[in-house]
Symmetry: C2
Subunit: 340 residues, 2 copies
DNA sequence: TTGTAGGCGTTATCAA
DNA sequence: TTGATAACGCCTACAA
């Protein structure tokens, strides 16, 4: 066993140690059948002795493409996206690719920086939940030739594959559920509306509300600056500040983090859930069901979202007849104790 | 603007398009000052025209090292580890490195596969929360020369840098807190004990218990097969199945996911928290404070854990006088409503 | 200021 | 079955 110093052993070193040519070592690596058993073992021994590890950069330079997929997440702190990432990873692992995870944190500059790096690395494909699906940066990636699939959003044009869940329908389901429960004053909590997800869930909510014939102003929109727990708490305070007769008896939150924050505020300030305030979240993350009052939520097929996106990007990468497609999954309302 | 087909443009193509030599293009990229303004703009224009993107593999092959750090997580579904990852990522971004995230899912085989891939990619350094910190695979990485830092664990030997939090102390703090609250029958919920974190938290709990002079058998150990929400629910059922006079009045869970599951079971089956069952978790993930009954928990400095580990691995990678060190952070008990 | 040449580690082709 | 060689794209001496 040899302690490495300097740079690590190359095929050339292995060849020298085994007393064979460099080409033979390469054959042992890539077409073992072509090498006689005797020399093969000699080469393998030399590799073990020297602690040889293939250099992926060199391989990649030679082959022109890497064995890596990348996913640029919108918010790594949101379990929804880590679940999507798990779906991607398992699909990637099936075809022996590894997954590079990046986090834009909803920042266009960070997103752009990641995309540049990924193209430099010649990743096989990029999956991204973009800050803005119609941004020019995405089209630049396409122009460069790197396959790209949009996850959890749909762009205006159809020049990309995308995998998303019907957010408009999800918003409708949530509000229809609350209407079914007899609520006539409901809050929509969410923002910023620069996020398409938020916009469409709100539109769906409005559509359901309009269909009910209730006065428009009784769907109270409470904007937030991000989809995080703390914003949910603050929204709770704002609701509590409303005069009794204008205060909604139910809230539909644009995601579960907000809903959990709202729930926490409610319980902390003695508001009974669902009797005084019913709550519906969105995403159905694991913690929604595990909340003190289990949360009703709109479930999205997270893992499937990821694995489907991975399949699409791989098809785009390898199938010359690839055609872009927009896959739209259907969300589903999961009713739990927070809406009775 | 040109639509790419075939392979993407290289420095050679740019040189041809700009009517200069290949060396000049390289100078524009790496020593712009050495190039006259006129030729520089000509070259830059050609790059834009061709949609040139540097090939990182070639660069790396030449330079011998990559611009990437990697973190092998133990469980990507646990917010604790994603928070650690965020700490690493921000430290890496500070020095212009990108972070490759892998997930072993507590599986030795997956862990090993990831490590091989990472070495092949010649990452600058590997951070890992290992399945087993004393495993031979880690030493093999070291032997190959890739800097490696152990995160959230400490190995037996001190041949690696490590960054961890004092789990023994954390266990003690949790149980002392429950003893302070007057509990005389307490459950420890956690497992598998192949996880060192679990073993040490349990040891700490036992030490505190022994110091109290209470009968040993009144610290009831409820083993689980994983540190996930669902196992917490099942532990709740097992507790409920105990005869009243042997049933603990408080539980210390080896992490917050278990605690959330237990809490959910308790609320669902009408057990009042903390009056009938007090609960202390571990990690203080964001969802602990946001639980229906906010959870008391042992807080670990997650982001700091990550950023410190990143600094250590970079020092090991670049400082010839690097000395391995074991950094041990101190945990802190955060008391909330779940223990009154 | 610009151009030329060699090499990083791997693989594939072709010849022996 | 094995060996020699060229090429992938980039960077850095060194030469002009």
């Amino acid at each position: 066993m040899v302690v490495q110093q300097g740079r690590s052993a190359s095929v050339k070193d292995v060849a020298a140690a085994a007393g064979v040519s460099l080409g033979t070592v390469s054959n042992v690596l890539n077409r073992p059948a072509r090498v006689s058993t005797a020399t093969r073992t000699r080469v393998l021994d030399a590799m073990a002795e020297l602690g040889f590890v293939r250099n992926e950069s060199a391989r990649q330079l030679r082959s022109g493409t890497s064995r890596t997929l990348a996913y640029v997440m919108l918010d790594a702190g949101n379990p929804f996206f880590t679940d999507v990432a798990q779906g991607i990873e398992s699909a990637a692992a099936d075809v022996d690719l590894s997954l590079l995870l990046c986090n834009s944190g909803n920042g266009p500059a960070r997103e752009r920086a990641h995309l540049v790096l990924l193209q430099q690395q010649r990743v096989q494909g990029i999956l991204i939940t973009p800050v803005d699906p119609d941004s020019e940066v995405l089209r630049e990636v396409r122009r460069h030739g790197t396959p790209l699939v949009i996850v959890d959003r749909i762009g205006d044009d159809q020049s990309f594959c995308s995998v998303a869940v019907d957010d408009f329908l999800g918003g409708r389901l949530a509000v229809e559920h609350l209407l079914d429960r007899g609520h006539t004053r409901v809050a929509f909590i969410g923002g910023p509306t620069t996020l398409g997800q938020v916009r469409e869930r709100l539109e769906g909510a409005r559509a359901a509300w309009a269909a009910s014939g209730l006065p428009e102003e009784d769907l109270v929109v409470v904007p937030t600056s991000a989809l995080v727990v703390n914003e949910g708490r603050e929204a709770g305070q704002r609701l509590a500040g409303l005069p009794q007769r204008r205060r909604p008896t139910a809230a539909f939150c644009a995601n579960d983090l907000l809903a959990l924050g709202l729930l926490q505020h409610a319980i902390g300030s003695g508001v009974r859930v669902p009797e005084e305030l019913a709550i519906v979240g969105y995403d159905d993350i694991e913690f929604a069901g595990a909340a003190g009052v289990p949360l009703s939520s709109v479930r999205q097929p997270r893992q499937e979202l990821g694995s489907t996106a991975a399949r699409l990007v791989l098809d785009e990468a390898s199938n010359p007849d690839h055609e872009h497609q927009q896959v739209l999954f259907t969300p589903e309302l999961v009713a739990r104790a927070s809406t009775l």
